[in-house]
Symmetry: C2
Subunit: 227 residues, 2 copies
């Protein structure tokens, strides 16, 4: 099957890409340049895709200026640090980017249809995650139905499928799966602050480190010494 | 209510804007620069919004490069001309732009949420239309539900409403409503070929001319002499 993977450069989307490469015939990636604070993500996405030999013409990058605002990830608000595991995922955090996955999936749909791509892969995760509404199964199901109804291929019966293979996995399981798939974790990037060494204290760093710790594996990323 | 109108510069979105201005407290517009063949549309959107005195900071324009392809409206395929009324709207035409309204509504949602905009207005029309799947009620309903599920405001109960007040109107009724609202039809643009004078023969020109004729009103737009 010809598929397109939403690739942010984080460990989840990289693992999702690894799965797609193992299981599908032809894999494209799409990344978004949306003014994210951690623009280093895009370099990570590029490095991960290049590591696996995906041809440059199958790695799409969409510039999205003037679309996202009002989030600590795109603006100047402070990213919360060192929150407890109990706090993470309880509420929608200020790192929430309004309608981000909705926009990403919609644009991926627009790109996929003329290419006859049959499935979109997204590394959304609803368990060890940061509390974003657009990472939940109900949202993804509703999106898939909307894309079916709003596209020619959808109403003609051959529409796009949305796959979120990591949706019900714990971070620990994602680390183990990625390890098995040979995901180049050293090339991925998670830190909300966009730091290298990673800050180790934002929600994304904390979830990542917890996942590696619980999997009994070493995270190859360097972290700040005070993390 | 604070609302945002998707403004293409065509007669339907201009009428939709007129309705919003009559009924709502604060009206924003959003237009998309997506490489459409009829880029003259954007100038029309600007002119219509300026005519009604909408402040420049409330008129958003989103550049969308590299997103849409595979349509006669963005590529080099021929726009069909002089199709019969029976042919128009029967199938999805080659002027279909993949997932266009899905992308537009998604981005409008991303823009609206941090501004506390409470409703999106879209001039989609499912009767005298060109057969696009993303202009149908089922699609718009599914989108609204998806946006509710995928946004913070949606899951917190104050989410965005999607209004398509022209959805079940005939083109004739839209012309009459626009006339009553004082829509500056002379500033709007419909022709798929992006021509001035308008070609008069593409589906969009034909539907527009039929609407004015049936309403018994004169379309102020000039048409090519052979139209």
């Amino acid at each position: 099957m010809k598929v397109m993977v939403l690739l942010s450069g984080g460990m989840d989307s990289a693992t999702c890409l690894g799965l797609a490469l193992r299981e599908e015939d032809e894999v494209w990636t799409v990344s978004f340049d949306y003014g994210q604070r951690h623009a280093i993500e895009l370099a990570a996405a590029h490095a991960v895709a290049a590591h696996w030999g995906i041809a440059p013409e199958r790695r799409l990058v969409v510039p999205l200026d003037h679309v996202f605002s009002g989030s600590a990830l795109t603006g100047h608000a402070d990213v919360p640090l060192a929150r407890s595991q109990g706090e993470i995922g309880q509420d929608v955090p200020i790192t929430y980017v309004p309608a981000r996955n909705l926009v990403f999936l919609s644009i991926a749909t627009a790109l996929a249809e003329p290419l006859d791509v049959q499935a979109l892969f997204i590394g959304a995760n609803a368990l060890d995650y940061s509390g974003y509404p657009d990472c939940r199964p109900a949202f993804l199901d509703a999106f898939a139905r909307t894309a079916q109804l709003g596209t020619r291929s959808g109403i003609e019966g051959s529409g796009l499928v949305v796959r979120a293979p990591l949706l019900q996995m714990r971070k620990r399981e994602i680390v183990l799966l990625g390890h098995e798939l040979g995901v180049p974790f050293a090339l991925t990037h998670s830190c909300y602050l966009g730091l290298r060494p990673a800050c180790g204290q934002c929600d994304a760093c904390q979830l990542r480190r917890k996942g590696f710790a619980e999997a009994g594996l070493t995270d190859p990323l360097p972290y700040a010494s005070n993390a």
